[in-house]
């Protein structure tokens, strides 16, 4: 549906390139995550899709149409097929929730009679039917983003672009907003392209992710694979960022390893088994267990002391992946 081919982007007066040689293909109906640190080029990349930015080199096509080659009126029409939501919501502070949602319909010259019903339906869809006449300043962050989502959906787009859409929200609100996005993806078949610097966000809803570093895609794959078995150092660093760095880790008297396991082994009593067999004491210094798209997984930082440490490491390696 969206093809990004050999795209480079340099900004006038900017040092270096924002994007250098990006190739991606995003399929209809998937939730595609683009992960990277700030400055990696994520925002630029997503803005190429609706023509807010033009590539310096290469092509971005949407359903086979070269976005950068469109004349302004055609580009405006294409933008109605591509919704976008933002970190700071981008709502008009001078307009009520209903007026914000109505704006894209006004721009598309939708008759007033249809417009009112459509706005009510959209606000209801995002759970804000009671807040139609409130101004953004009277709404919470989560509610504002819901207005943003309703507005982005007003013209019935095929794709929703999310630019750090949950970065300004607290964890609980983030989960609610992500659940809403997942529901829209499921119910409407809406394709979602989501950029974030938080692995947790990608973990929660993305089918596939691309990791962007300094304007290049350094890792690409199914979320489950990338999260459980990251190949590139940047991905590992981003994953590590989501785990709290406990000072106890550095002080631990023994060997510290990261251990990742998925599938049935993730729910098996590994640690007690290893202790019984090798006499080594295993301490969980940090970790998480959960499910990624129906695959059980566990990621932990283990401290190993006493007994046969080498045998304990060998046993761990049988079940999952061990790294320093």
């Amino acid at each position: 549906m969206i093809r990004i081919n050999g795209v480079h982007k340099r900004f006038a007066g900017g040092s270096g390139a924002a994007l250098c040689g990006v190739d991606l293909a995003i399929d209809a109906g998937e939730v595609f995550g683009i992960i990277g640190r700030s400055g990696a080029g994520k925002s630029t990349l997503v803005r190429l899709i609706n023509g807010l930015e033009r590539p310096s080199e290469g092509h971005v096509t949407f359903n086979g149409i070269d976005v950068a080659a469109l004349a302004p009126p055609d580009l405006r029409r294409l933008r109605r097929r591509v919704g976008m939501i933002f970190q700071n919501f981008g709502l008009l502070s001078s307009a009520t929730a209903a007026q914000n949602v109505a704006l894209p319909l006004r721009l598309a010259s939708t008759p007033a009679s249809i417009r009112a019903a459509k706005v009510a339906e959209l606000l209801d869809r995002v759970g804000l039917a009671d807040h139609a006449d409130k101004y953004p300043a009277q709404l919470s962050g989560g509610q504002r983003q819901r207005v943003g989502i309703a507005r982005a959906l007003a013209t019935g787009p095929d794709v929703l672009l999310c630019d750090e859409a949950t970065s300004a929200l607290d964890p609980e609100t983030t989960r609610d907003v992500l659940a809403l996005l997942a529901a829209l993806n499921h119910d409407l078949g809406l394709t979602i392209v989501l950029i974030t610097h938080e692995m947790d966000v990608a973990r929660q809803i993305c089918d596939r992710v691309a990791v962007l570093q300094a304007g290049q895609v350094v890792e690409l794959g199914r979320t489950v694979d990338v999260m459980i078995d990251p190949q590139h150092p940047e991905t590992r660093a981003l994953l590590a960022d989501t785990v709290s760095r406990d000072p106890a880790l550095a002080q631990f008297d023994g060997q510290v390893v990261r251990f990742t396991v998925h599938g049935d082994a993730a729910t098996a009593p590994l640690i007690s088994a290893i202790t019984r067999e090798t006499g080594a004491d295993l301490t969980i210094l940090d970790g998480r267990v959960g499910r990624l798209r129906n695959t059980a997984y566990a990621q932990m930082t283990l401290g190993i002391a006493g007994g046969d440490t080498a045998a304990a490491l060998a046993m761990l390696a049988q079940y999952g992946r061990v790294s320093a």
Binding site: R47, N50, L52, P72, L75, R76, R77, L78, R79, R80, V82, G83, M84, F86, Q87, N88, F89, G90, L91, L92, S93, S94, A95, L103, P104, R106, L107, A108, Y135, P136, A137, G148, R151, A152, A154, T155, L161
Partner: protein, 221 residues
């Protein structure tokens, strides 16, 4: 009362107040009509905006800076030939309005540009991303969002116009400032000075209060 303000001719004061009002009101209307589009043009041609154009932006910017760097009293005199061509006279209230507008419009335009820059970048992108033309962007997003800032800019500008209009006596336009200079200063009629200054203070206070009230009314933040 009469003993205290022996030199004050109240009908002159009334006429001067009326002249000031006319000059300020007409100049403000014309200043907004010229300054608002100019401010929009400055903003839209600025770096990173819809019509980003270094040449046009630079030219407008320099022109605005030149007009703003001339003290109003100089502008008043320099513009005499231009005023003569434009309104047929360089004297009186019509003769004063041209330099007032030429002096205030670039000032207002800069304030409008600053108010537009305050509009959230994401909001502009959001409106563009829903397929808005530049005209839609201006009318549906930029102007409504910047309205409180533009009203505040208008308030500052109208007060500057009151102050500028005090110099309009140079071209025989009259007004409160002119009265204060000719009677209060040149003829040592301190009572006239006191009355005109008091009136100017009241006018400026009222304008500021009205402006603040309008800003509050249109603010939704």
């Amino acid at each position: 009362m009469n003993a205290l303000f022996a030199d004050v001719v109240w009908s002159d004061i009334a006429l001067a107040t009326l002249d000031t009002m006319i000059m300020v009101t007409v100049s403000l209307a014309l200043t907004v009509m010229i300054g608002l589009p100019l401010g929009l043009a400055l903003f839209l041609t600025g770096p990173g905006q819809t019509w980003a154009n270094r040449g046009v932006h630079g030219t407008l910017s320099i022109a605005v800076n030149i007009l703003r760097s001339l003290p109003f009293i100089i502008l008043l005199i320099v513009l005499i030939p231009f005023t003569l061509v434009l309104v047929g006279t360089s004297l009186g209230v019509p003769g004063a309005i041209v330099p007032l507008v030429v002096g205030a419009a670039p000032f207002f335009a800069r304030l409008v540009e600053a108010a537009l820059r305050e509009v959230d970048r994401n909001t502009i992108e959001a409106v563009q991303s829903m397929g808005a033309s530049t005209r839609d962007l201006v009318w549906r997003a930029l102007l409504p969002e910047a309205l409180p800032g533009i009203i505040a800019a208008g308030t500052v500008t109208v007060i500057a116009l009151v102050s500028y209009s005090a110099m309009a006596g140079v071209v025989g336009a009259g007004g409160l400032g002119d009265l204060a200079v000719r009677y209060g200063y040149q003829r040592f009629q301190t009572d006239v000075m006191v009355v005109t200054v008091a009136l100017l203070i009241v006018v400026v206070q009222c304008l500021q209060m009205l402006g603040d009230r309008l800003v509050r009314h249109f603010s939704r933040r």
